[in-house]
Each structure stands twice: as structure tokens, then as C-alpha cells.
Symmetry: C2
Subunit: 389 residues, 2 copies
């Protein structure tokens, strides 16, 4: 729960650049496996959408295409147990723009934000611009420790936003328990604080069943749910969405209009066509099968090649495994001095995912983007490196 | 040069919504004529880009596709006399996101901004969020009055940004003279203030030849040029670009990454394919021919049907004509009470395009989106309305 606004020494962009070298086995990026993009179905969807009528090339509403918003509202009712209509949906440029717009609506310079510790580095990149006071809430195997959050909310009325990734959290892979989801919705109502529920990995459940969203327990309109097609269809669509109370959607739509007028109609109609003509759920089932296999391979290789003091999580879905190192080790320093130049492997170091770079002894591994062989080879190299520190 | 931060009573979104009713003859939106979208060529470009390789569906760099940046740098060298390389280009979600990112880089709460009076309402929507002190610089037939700008810069060191639309200005249609372009670049250097040169209408020159950009006179890196494909190809591409010194591009790229990670690769590669396989200049020549004809029709109808006290500009290109009314008339009030409900015509009223809604007696007409018949009908209705005030 350290409170700090120091500059991080590694940012999203640097890591993206590092991973660009083809010699490097990159476990760093949250990039889906390109071999699994449904390229034919997407190509057909684009062709169909573009040939419908010339209106597809025009400006459209800032809130987004009505049919797509309806399709997403239906999907959220079914999968997230959220009672949403098209008016409760805003289309954004990926989940990232959703975070940006919500931050714009809620935050002001120097306000307080409660975040998981560690958390998604792309969200920190947005929040950092407000030079906030971070209240870092620890995670255990049931997600964010809600009793510790409650203490902070009671002590610090300056907290304006609670940011959480409740499903297969980025970067640790842990999920928030059902009880805590209810407790979190109750706390948001009690303290009149917005909860940003960021759930791009939710559909990628490998074992067990999906839990209801935090939003499904929201009685007061304080929970804002966001997700995107980046992990379940294609990141190049740059299409995410917000589900919220209609007054919140109204404010966010104004901010969206000021920010970039509207999202591309061509893309939105293409996604509508894809969803109408294909089973997204069937595609997701294929992703889950493939990614679960790779996760097993990575966890097996970690067991085989990592020293026993490196502790890895075993998530039930999503993209990531978190590895905790002994406190004295700085994973960022190790990455730049040894892992990357000598072993040609890349991960996301702790400093990038703890607010204010407040912890250094850990790293995030993504298992989805590489072949099983590359995963074993990369983990083997990384294990050799760790055994020599 | 009034200095104010009052809330405007009409915003972009409201106007977009008003114009949505099919009964209304909308001269309000800056929407291109959909009949002129090169739909076949764009459909082919998308098909080609999507079938190239699976990488098109993946995340890509925040700065944008290298080939597209190279194509844009070449185009700017040829047409704008700007000495730019791919490293000087950032791809954005339309020109609007370019304005948003530049504002984020340069502005802080309560700082000063110099804007043309009137100016582009979408830019005011961005700037208003910083609650700035606006220094409104009047325009004459040679664009922004640079001597008045110089006075304000000398008096107010708090001015951090000069925003201008030098080519076929939005909303007046006037263009900045060559002399003033040079003077503006010199002032930016002298006072170390950024100039945001926003030029989406530049290529739509109907008579006379293009003037060099302000950026072409920039010796110190203080001029940031932006443009977009929205007016010359299709707004649904949501693709604009920034041309600036490489350190400025570096900062803006960081802000872009935090804001929405990257622009969609599918769109960027499709534009590359379009530019490689088609002549954009030939397409623009067709747009100019069509839009110039419509402008003549509108100016003719204004002469025939408007009372003589309504003074219209005669721009040499672009989308817009500005109509100045006698001081006592409030064009916004007139729009809501009479023009829209009784005559079913829509325009952009002065209050939306003067910072702080500081003037009310004028409106912007766009002539590009309607057929000549509709233009005559709409102007006739509007003239009848004006004659009855």
C-alpha cells in the first residue's frame, strides 16, 4: 500500500521495442498468437461490411454503431449477468481508450487511486499522467484483498477510483472470488467511488466456470465494466467497449467525441458481420484449448528449469504467469543486463507493473504468443540465467 | 481578443444529432459527399491488405505503419514543401486525436492559447478541458491578423500554443497569406511557442495554387503540422497524421501509446495499398471539381435568396462558407427556435465556433454533402427564415 508517484524505469513502449527483435523469445507482450486469428472469417466480414453501402465510409456517432452495441449488450447479459441495453454501451479504440476516457472523467491532478499491486502497466501509463497518490492493494489467490481496500477507503476520502482486473489478472493471472466481487460492489456504493472493472481475459477461462462480473452486483451505477476484442478476436480491430449506467455513458461519449470524434465505422460493421455469421464462442473455445496447452508447457518447463526459489502462479485462464523472485533481485536490471542481451529472452519486469516502480523482484510471462518448442527453449534459457544470478 | 472560458451552449455532438434527421437539409456537418467515396478502390485496398499476411491482425507500433509514414513524408515534401522523413510522422485516429495529443503535450490547466476568431469547434472541445485563457485573434481576408497575435504574445507569456487552420479555414474558408505564414513561423521561434497548423482542407484547392505550409518556414521545431484522410478519402478510416521534429514525435508517440496503444494496422495497410494502386491526386481533382460546382450553386442561391445584410465569404477551396449576420442576431437561438423546427435546415451557429461562445451573429454552411438541388432548396428556406427575423 505504498503511496508514491516516482517515474517507472521501464515503460510499455520500451518493452514493445525490445520484443521486436526476431532473435528474442518474447514472453513480454500481451500479443495473441497470430496463427489463431480467424483470418478468413474476418476477411469475409470486412468484404461484406464494405460492400453493404457507401455510408460505411462516412463519419458516424461517437457512441458507436447501434447494432454492435446491441450485440455487445446481449453478450454481456448472457456472459456477465449484466442487465445492459445498447444505450449502456460505448465503443472505444480498444480497452486502452476506455481506461483513458474513464480516467479523464473521474481523475484530477493529485487525487487518489486504489490499484492492485501489481497491476496492468498500460493503466498505470494512463493514471501516471494525473500524478496521483497510489494506494496499492495487495493480491492473494482470491484477488484484491478487499478488507485492506476497505481500510484505505475509510482512511482516504481522496480516493476517486478503484482499478481492478478481476479475471485472470494482468500480470499475476489470479481471479477475484465471488464473495470479494460482491464486497467490492458494496464498497463502491458505500464510499461513492467508481470501480473500473477491466476484463479483457474474462472469456479465456480454461478450467472452472466464469464468475459473475462485479458490475452484475452494482446497485448504484458506480461500477464501470470494460472489455475488448483484442484478446479474443484481433488487436488490430482496436475495438473495445464500456458498459455503464447511461449517464456515465453520456459523459464518456462527450469525452470520446472531443478525443477522436468517433470510432471507424468500417471496423464496427465488420465486427457486426463477423458476430452474425460466425460463432465467437466457438472461436474462443479454440483459443482456450490452444492457450491452456501452452500454459501447461510453460508451467512444466518452469518446474524443470527454474530454481526452486522462483515462485510461479498457476492461473485458470488468461495470458499470464507471474514469477516472484527473492526480494534482493531486481528483475528490471537483470532483464537489461543479462536476460535480454545474453539469453535473448524478454519478460515484463516488476518495476513496470507496480505503481511507482515500488517493487522489483518479479516478472510477468505471457505463454500465448510462442510455439510450445519456443516456450520450452525460452524458459530453459531464462532458468539458466536465473541459476547464475 | 476577448479572454473567456464560458461554457458553449452548442457542441459538436448536439449538432451531429440534429443533422441526423433525414427531413433536415444539413449544412452543418463537415461530412464529405458519400457519393464521391472511391468505394471500389477502397474495397480492393482492404481486400489486398487483409490477404497479405496474418500480421495485419496483430498489435503494432504506436507511431504507426512505417510504409504509410514514408508515403506521407513523401507527400508532404512534394505538396507542403516540408522536409520530413518517416521518423517525423505519427499516425493518429483522425486529425482530432492529433489535436488531443498535442494539447496533452503542450497545455496545462489555466494556461493561455491563441486561436483564430472564429475557429474549429472540435479543437475548442479539446482545449476547453484545460479551462484555458483564450486569446482570440481576428481574421481578415488574409487569415489570422499576425500583428494582433504578436501584440498578445508580447503581453501574455502564458500563451503556450497558437492554433490555426491556415488553408480554407474552418469555419470561414479564408486562407492565410504567404507573408503571414512566414511571420507566424518567426513569431513561434521568437516566443518559443508551439504553432499547431491544422490543415485538413489544404488539398481541396479550387482556384489558384497551394501556398507553402507554415511548417515549411519552421527553423526551430516549433511548428507542428497535422492533416487527415477524412476530407480527401474517407472519414471512416479515422486516420490522420502529425508532421513534427523527431523529439516532438517521440513525446506524442508516448502519449498515443498511453491513450490507445496504436492505430489499427488493417486500416493503415489498406491506405498504403490504396496509395500504391491509385492516384490520390486524381481522386482529389474529382472532389475539387464537384465541390467547386456546389460552392458556386450555394453562393448563387445565397445571392438570390438571402437578405443583403447577410454577408457570405467566397473561399477558394475547402468545405465552408461563413455568413455574418447583424450584431443583434443570435444564430444559435434562431437555429433552435426557427431554422431547425420550422424550416428544417441546419447550420453551425457562431456560439459553437467562437471560444467561450463570445460571438453569436453568424453561422457556418457546408456545401459539400448535399446535391445542388438540395443546396438551392435549403438556402431558399434559410433565406425565407432570415427575411422574417
Amino acid at each position: 500500500m505504498q503511496k508514491t508517484t516516482e517515474k517507472k524505469d521501464t515503460d510499455l513502449n520500451d518493452i514493445m521495442t525490445m520484443a521486436d527483435n526476431p532473435e528474442v523469445i518474447a514472453f513480454s507482450g500481451g500479443l495473441p498468437d497470430p496463427a489463431l486469428f480467424p483470418e478468413k472469417a474476418l476477411a469475409q466480414a470486412y468484404q461484406k461490411a464494405i460492400s453493404q453501402d457507401r455510408g460505411v465510409f462516412q463519419y458516424h456517432s461517437a457512441q458507436g454503431n447501434l447494432q454492435l452495441r446491441q450485440q455487445l449488450a446481449n453478450r454481456c447479459q448472457k456472459d456477465g449477468q449484466i442487465n445492459a441495453q445498447a444505450e449502456n454501451v460505448l465503443i472505444t479504440q480498444g480497452g486502452q481508450q476506455a481506461i483513458t476516457l474513464i480516467a479523464e472523467m473521474v481523475l484530477s491532478k493529485g487525487c487518489g487511486i486504489a490499484v492492485e499491486s501489481p497491476t496492468y502497466l498500460g493503466a498505470l501509463n494512463v493514471f501516471d499522467q494525473y500524478q496521483p497518490n497510489y494506494y496499492q492493494i495487495p493480491l492473494d489467490e482470491n484477488g484484491m484483498e478487499i478488507d485492506k481496500l476497505a481500510e484505505q477507503l475509510e482512511l482516504h476520502p481522496e480516493i476517486k477510483l478503484i482499478y481492478t482486473v478481476p479475471d485472470f489478472q494482468n500480470p499475476t493471472g489470479t481471479s477475484m472470488s465471488l464473495t470479494r466481487r460482491k464486497q467490492l460492489a458494496d464498497l463502491a456504493a458505500k464510499y461513492q467511488v467508481y470501480v473500473l472493472e477491466d476484463s479483457p481475459y474474462r472469456d479465456l477461462t480454461y478450467t472452472g466456470s466464469q464468475l459473475p462480473t462485479i458490475k452484475s452486483f452494482d446497485q448504484t451505477g458506480h461500477v464501470i465494466f470494460i472489455s475488448s476484442f483484442s484478446k479474443i478476436l484481433s488487436p488490430a480491430l482496436r475495438t473495445g467497449w464500456v458498459i455503464a449506467a447511461s449517464d456515465v455513458i453520456g459523459k464518456l461519449t462527450e469525452l470520446k467525441a472531443a478525443s477522436d470524434l468517433c470510432s471507424p465505422e468500417i471496423t464496427q460493421r465488420s465486427i457486426c458481420c463477423y458476430l452474425t455469421d460466425n460463432s465467437l464462442d466457438q472461436h474462443i473455445a479454440q483459443l482456450c484449448q490452444n492457450y491452456q496447452k501452452k500454459q501447461k508447457v510453460m508451467l512444466g518447463a518452469i518446474k524443470d528449469y527454474f530454481p526452486s526459489w522462483a515462485k510461479a502462479t498457476s492461473p485458470k485462464g488468461g495470458f499470464f504467469i507471474w514469477v516472484e523472485l527473492p526480494e534482493k533481485l531486481d528483475a528490471g536490471k537483470l532483464l537489461i543486463e543479462s536476460v535480454l542481451p545474453k539469453y535473448q529472452v524478454c519478460y515484463v519486469p516488476a518495476s513496470a507493473v507496480y505503481a511507482g516502480a515500488s517493487k522489483k523482484n518479479g516478472f510477468r510471462l505471457s505463454y500465448v504468443g510462442n510455439s510450445p518448442d519456443k516456450i520450452v527453449e525460452g524458459i530453459k534459457r531464462l532458468g539458466t540465467c536465473l541459476k547464475h544470478v
